[in-house]
Symmetry: C2
Subunit: 237 residues, 2 copies
């Protein structure tokens, strides 16, 4: 699905990461159950992720100074452990579990899809994850980024316009020469407001196979693809 | 050459770029002579590069606000063109020539050496070049960075400690777990002051084959290698 007339050829594909590139839900389930097999891993993963937006909002409101996602993840982790009967976790266990976000597995189409897309485009992350997290994740999972861009570079979290426009500035391009690729309509809508092109990727199992997500197309997006391989087909890569 | 007792195993190799990874001198000669075959390309390359440190010093002193290398390169370019009888260069020629720094060629050992080093280490840039410049260069030359770090991320130019310590912070490591790889003793000395390990790379032709550079070892460095392949040998990659 694509608009018949593409006004500008995008040069940069900037990818949202959590949910779009990697399957955070099943990876967090795996990691917490490796430490405590009896815990309700699915509920734990959802609770941890649910703290993510409110934590970033505390940074963007100025209540917290600039704080990286690694540190926000740790604040949320410490706050939810008691609800799951895990408040006896040692400091070492907490540190190890907190870096589970560096060890998220990519969706099955991702490495092959990115490799094809990289042949015609510069591919970079545009994630609220910090640079170290994204680099460690890429190294473990074999994600072939040309460049790791992060909220940490811009000192602003998506959906702040400084992030989307920051990608264009880094590459000295017009916003329309950058395309955000994401599995979240709100992220794409904010990018579109800044003049970026957008590609929606269906990730129906983002919150677990038992809780399928609405992946209906929004005609406002430039592209809509089932996965990265389908996007590569559409973009002639 | 290496010290017999390595106190800490480095996890990150951070690379200086201009002169260490890429041969700016002969690449700039090629680019300017492609526009004007009769110009003294070697003198032109040296003059352009000679403006680099003073321009960064104007930023770090506060005389200029934060300014990327692309923009500093342009200021220097405009100032030296008249000396070479090139003040008739069009705006399009100036813009094209200014991005010659995105099109620098790597030394012959670089791609193979980095590929080997990447198998055991996280490899990143630590350059005063801006992120877009470094990413475009890597894409053209096939440099397989895990991550592109730049003065632009830290809003400070080397040898400011914020750059060397910034790499350690990004990866949540102690400074001694980071190694700077560079062909410049002053860059390495500043990194050592911050607690980083250091590897010196010989690039005798950095300023042109006609002006060989002193590449004597300094025993203060952790490693000294002829090129990236020799460094990979020393680091068992």
């Amino acid at each position: 699905m694509n608009k018949s007339a593409q006004p500008v050829h995008a040069k940069i594909l900037a990818f949202d990461v959590f949910g779009t590139v990697v399957d955070w839900h099943s990876s967090i389930v795996r990691e917490v159950q490796a430490l405590r097999p009896a815990v309700d891993g699915k509920a734990f993963a959802l609770a941890w992720r649910a703290g993510y937006r409110p934590a970033m909002a505390r940074v963007m409101s100025g209540e917290l100074g600039w704080t990286r996602i690694d540190d926000l993840h740790r604040l949320i982790l410490d706050s939810i452990l008691p609800q799951f009967g895990l408040d006896d976790f040692s400091e070492a266990d907490r540190q190890h579990l907190n870096t589970a976000w560096h060890r998220l597995d990519p969706w099955p189409d991702v490495v092959a899809g990115l490799t094809r897309l990289k042949s015609r485009y510069t591919i970079c992350t545009l994630s609220n994850g910090n640079i170290g997290l994204l680099t460690n994740m890429a190294k473990r999972a074999g994600l072939p980024w040309d460049c790791v861009l992060s909220a940490e570079v811009f000192h602003a979290y998506k959906p702040d316009p400084a992030t989307y426009l920051g990608v264009a500035k880094v590459f000295d391009l017009a916003p329309a020469q950058v395309m955000l690729v994401a599995a979240h309509q709100d992220d794409l809508a904010a990018a579109r407001e800044c003049g970026l092109q957008t590609a929606y990727i269906e990730r129906p199992a983002e919150f677990g196979a038992a809780r399928p997500k609405d992946v209906s197309p929004d005609p406002a997006n430039t592209w809509h693809a089932k996965d990265f391989l389908a996007l590569a087909d559409q973009l002639d890569c």
